[in-house]
């Protein structure tokens, strides 16, 4: 799978993003890392040009409630409904429902095992083959838990 790992906004901490990028590479995926401080518009343009099937957004700064819904909306506006969006980093429990509501399919917090995002993407793959909803514009309430 082609996966974009993105850092949005002013958050300058990308150790986690790089570890996940490496783990997904070792899981056999082609991982494109955006680099730091991308705008939601840039992230969507990158996912579009790279023809990514999934976008993983790493966020530790607390700006998730603003940036992630914007990215999801822009993906849909570009017609990229089938792209799977997942999130890693610090997301308080009280903010999670809202992110799932805007199309995020998985949230990985601190303590997540390195294998979990890989298993998640395998699951996405299987569901795609069965034509089950996985994308940011597919609707349905499936999420990784």
């Amino acid at each position: 799978m082609r996966v974009v790992i993105a850092k949005a906004g002013l958050d300058g901490h990308d150790r986690g993003a790089k570890i996940i990028a490496r783990a997904l590479r070792d899981g056999g995926h082609e991982v494109i890392y955006t680099g730091l401080r991308r705008t939601p518009e840039q992230i969507v343009a990158i996912a579009r040009d790279e023809d990514a099937s999934a976008v993983g957004i790493s966020t530790l700064s607390g700006a998730h409630a603003r940036l992630i819904p914007t990215i999801c909306e822009l993906l849909r506006a570009e017609g990229m409904d089938e792209v799977t969006v997942f999130v890693g980093g610090i997301i308080p429990d009280t903010d999670r429902e809202a992110l799932y509501g805007c199309g995020v399919r998985a949230i990985f917090g601190p303590g997540t095992s390195i294998n979990e995002p890989i298993t998640f993407l395998e699951n996405v793959n299987e569901r795609t083959q069965q034509n089950l909803p996985v994308g940011v514009g597919h609707g349905g309430d499936w999420k990784w838990s």
């Binding site: 590479r25 070792d26 082609e30 890392y33 680099g35 579009r48 040009d49 990229m80």
Partner: protein, 292 residues
């Protein structure tokens, strides 16, 4: 279904739809046969050099300069794939901070196990981009060995990037890159020791026939970039170098053809068990292709 056919993707991409372009390149990369008209020769700059020399940062500068001057710039960045998992970490675009992603098209490409070869469809991708009106196509690859230089041989002008305290010019010379490089950018001219580095590169070249020009640049400050661009644009095609490049790309295409042969695994097996010599193995493959 119709919407995703190569024909309609090409037509939509021609009208400026970037998503169709991206999907078209995926199809080419995945080995789908594609009949792209060839009405013009592509303008392709290959950029290579040792890890950490500043290739991506320099390409960012070139791309933003050209795109500000109304050229349509497309970058294809080739990175190796993991021989164990088959996955790849494609991080070249992390350095793209000056060029505007809305204008410059950037695509990361995994070598997908094609060690020592040209990634699947790379030449078709270049031709497609050129036909769609991308007039500056840049191929980036890390130059650490012969295989990586093979990637760059599809370009018609080649820029080698090096920097202070690297001492890699000798390595590059050993691997044969100097035979096909048209220009050498000595990057990081803002750092102390950069003049000495340029001098050492030039000294290393002094015994070569028709050595490439060495130009000091700083991708960080932008110093020397316009001079470098001027040199790239006014570069005279060098027949000896294009012949050397053609040899490399032809040999690589032969290698990947041989690897795709249905006899390949059997022949390898027979050689490993000492049933036949490698010369006999080569003859068997040759015979196979002779019959096609």
């Amino acid at each position: 279904m119709e919407l995703n056919s190569i024909f309609s993707l090409f037509a939509n991409a021609k009208h400026g739809d970037r998503r169709s372009l991206a999907k078209l390149l995926t199809k080419i990369e995945n080995g789908e046969e594609i009949d792209i008209p060839t009405t013009k020769a592509a303008w392709v700059l290959g950029v290579t050099g040792p890890p950490g020399a500043g290739k991506s940062t320099l390409i960012d500068r070139l791309a933003s300069y050209w795109s500000e001057n109304r050229q349509r710039v497309a970058i294809l960045a080739v990175d190796p794939s993991s021989p164990i998992s088959g996955g790849a970490l494609l991080g070249d675009r992390a350095r793209m901070v000056h060029s505007n992603p809305a204008q410059v098209f950037f695509r990361s490409i995994s070598a997908r196990g094609n060690h020592g070869g040209i990634p699947n469809g790379l030449e078709h991708m270049i031709q497609t981009l050129s036909e769609l009106g991308w007039d500056r196509i840049i191929i980036e690859t890390v130059g650490v060995g012969q295989g990586e230089f093979a990637v760059i041989s599809v370009a018609d002008r080649i820029l080698l990037v090096d920097g202070p305290d690297r001492g890699d010019v000798l390595q590059a010379e050993k691997a044969g890159i100097l035979e096909i490089a048209d220009l050498i950018a000595c990057n990081k001219s803002d750092l102390p020791g950069s003049l000495a580095a340029m001098k050492s590169i030039e000294d290393g070249l002094s015994y070569s026939e028709n050595p490439p020009a060495v130009i000091g640049v700083s991708s960080l400050t932008g110093d020397g970039i316009e001079n470098l661009i001027h040199r790239i644009e006014t570069m005279e095609p060098d027949l000896a170098k294009s012949t050397a490049r053609a040899k490399i790309s032809l040999e690589c295409s032969m290698i990947s053809r041989i690897r795709k042969s249905p006899l390949y695994d059997d022949v390898v097996n027979d050689i490993s068990k000492n049933k036949i010599t490698s010369k006999e193995g080569a003859e068997r493959l040759e015979e196979y292709y002779g019959r096609l």
